[in-house]
Symmetry: C2
């Protein structure tokens, strides 16, 4: 089911700025029995991303109700929330008082092979790179052509994800995931001040590590550093965590911090 501004619908205005310019943001989350998991974190991120584009963010309560309604018939759902700047006249200039469009939709939880989480995943290095745009870095906005082009580089089912680098060769993350590596018992995740999406799961891991007394920092991660790490894993709100078992000729087995990260992600706290 899809709700557009609270009304069951299948379509969106053809002059919506989300379509014209990608002028909006979105969230992907898991909803169990209609209740979004880690909602406080997701809503906080939605508020932050809306603010980054100066789009008024819909109230949390409204979105919660709409997710519950949309997920009525889908006990284990992936929810998607899109907030755009709404309809607009021709031209890039944003309306002085935008009337945002909110779209809430759910689909059945995708069935990833269970061995991805258990035995690890094969990951490739994409040729498509992230451009450096500090003004939009970290924001999950609707301008996602770089991710589309990167994801279009492979179609064998054995490759679970592709790594995207920036123009300087630093690893930023996967096309749809954030990356953590393990070095001497400490977690490191790529800094996202110039590009990439700073996901909710990444942030929850950073907080959980701090609470658990595990060192965890945001740093530049060139590919060579990733390939020397003791563990490497990809995370997001839908897949949870997958450890990387193979990338660019390097192989890993399951590590100890991977299991702890999985516990942190599954924790029902925000």
């Amino acid at each position: 089911m899809i709700l557009v501004n609270g009304v069951v619908a299948e379509s969106v205005s053809a002059i919506d700025r989300g379509l014209s310019y990608g002028d909006g943001v979105f969230r992907s989350l898991v909803a169990w029995q209609g209740r979004p998991r880690h909602w406080r974190s997701h809503y906080g991120k939605l508020e932050h991303d809306c603010a980054a584009l100066a789009i008024p963010c819909p109230p949390a309560g409204v979105l919660e109700k709409e997710i519950a309604l949309a997920a009525e018939d889908t006990p284990e759902a992936v929810g998607r929330i899109i907030v755009t700047r709404g309809s607009g006249e021709r031209g890039y200039a944003p309306p002085a008082t935008p009337s945002p469009t909110r779209i809430v939709m759910v689909s059945a939880m995708p069935e990833y092979p269970p061995e991805f989480a258990r035995d690890g995943v094969v990951v490739r290095v994409c040729e498509t790179r992230y451009a450096s745009q500090p003004r939009l870095a970290g924001v999950k906005h609707l301008n996602r052509l770089e991710n589309v082009l990167a994801r279009a580089e492979w179609n064998d089912r054995g490759t679970a994800e592709g790594l995207m680098l920036d123009a300087d060769g630093q690893v930023i993350g996967g096309t749809m995931t954030n990356l953590f590596i393990v070095e001497n018992g400490a977690l490191v995740t790529p800094g996202l001040s110039r590009c990439g999406v700073s996901g909710v799961t990444r942030k929850r891991i950073l907080h959980a590590a701090q609470r658990a007394g595990v060192a965890c920092s945001e740093e530049a991660v060139p590919l060579s550093r990733l390939l020397r790490a003791q563990e490497a894993m990809l995370v997001n709100s839908v897949v949870g965590a997958w450890f990387i078992k193979s990338c660019a000729g390097t192989r890993w087995t399951v590590g100890t911090l991977y299991e702890r990260v999985r516990e942190w992600i599954d924790d029902e706290g925000d």
Copy 2:
């Protein structure tokens, strides 16, 4: 009037990849009595941009008919053609056999103050910069948040356009226009191999200059070079050409190449 895949409509599927990811391209053009001006150039550019994203391009004849239909009641219209990769399942991976969405819409020709073309325009330098993304440079795709953010930097009606620079401080163009400067009787336009949109009018001017024996080249144009130029002008298919009369404290009066460029743009040839 709006036509979506040939049918009169006001909306587009909420799961269209144009909305989800900005996964598509567009054209803005002038249609007189339902006939798109410089159609061969516009269609060629649409084909080129679709190919850059591996989206099948709708046939020229289909689009021509739809523009004529949509512009039925609008003798002087601005037409907009959007081609997206169509609807898709959740996830960045493009469908193996995409079924593109084409949207054709018209609006009345915007009424720019006549003094913009006659007496020149005041132009500002935007703080928002273009990121360098060679994979998408030149393509008029639907990921236009940089242009939106740049255009949101001012709202006084006295400023007609804003210049966008790249991260290195090279001028790329206006938020909705391409730039030409004049140096010793020769035209220079910024190279667009790393970012920006290479518009149809820009290309038509490059060809017309060559035919007329006027030197014209694509080069890096730092802001200081623009400010030292004898003339500077902004062009696109809708506004035609505006000469810059004031930018960053530098002032210009109308120049001789400006008038020739206007003639080239108005020429009905492609």
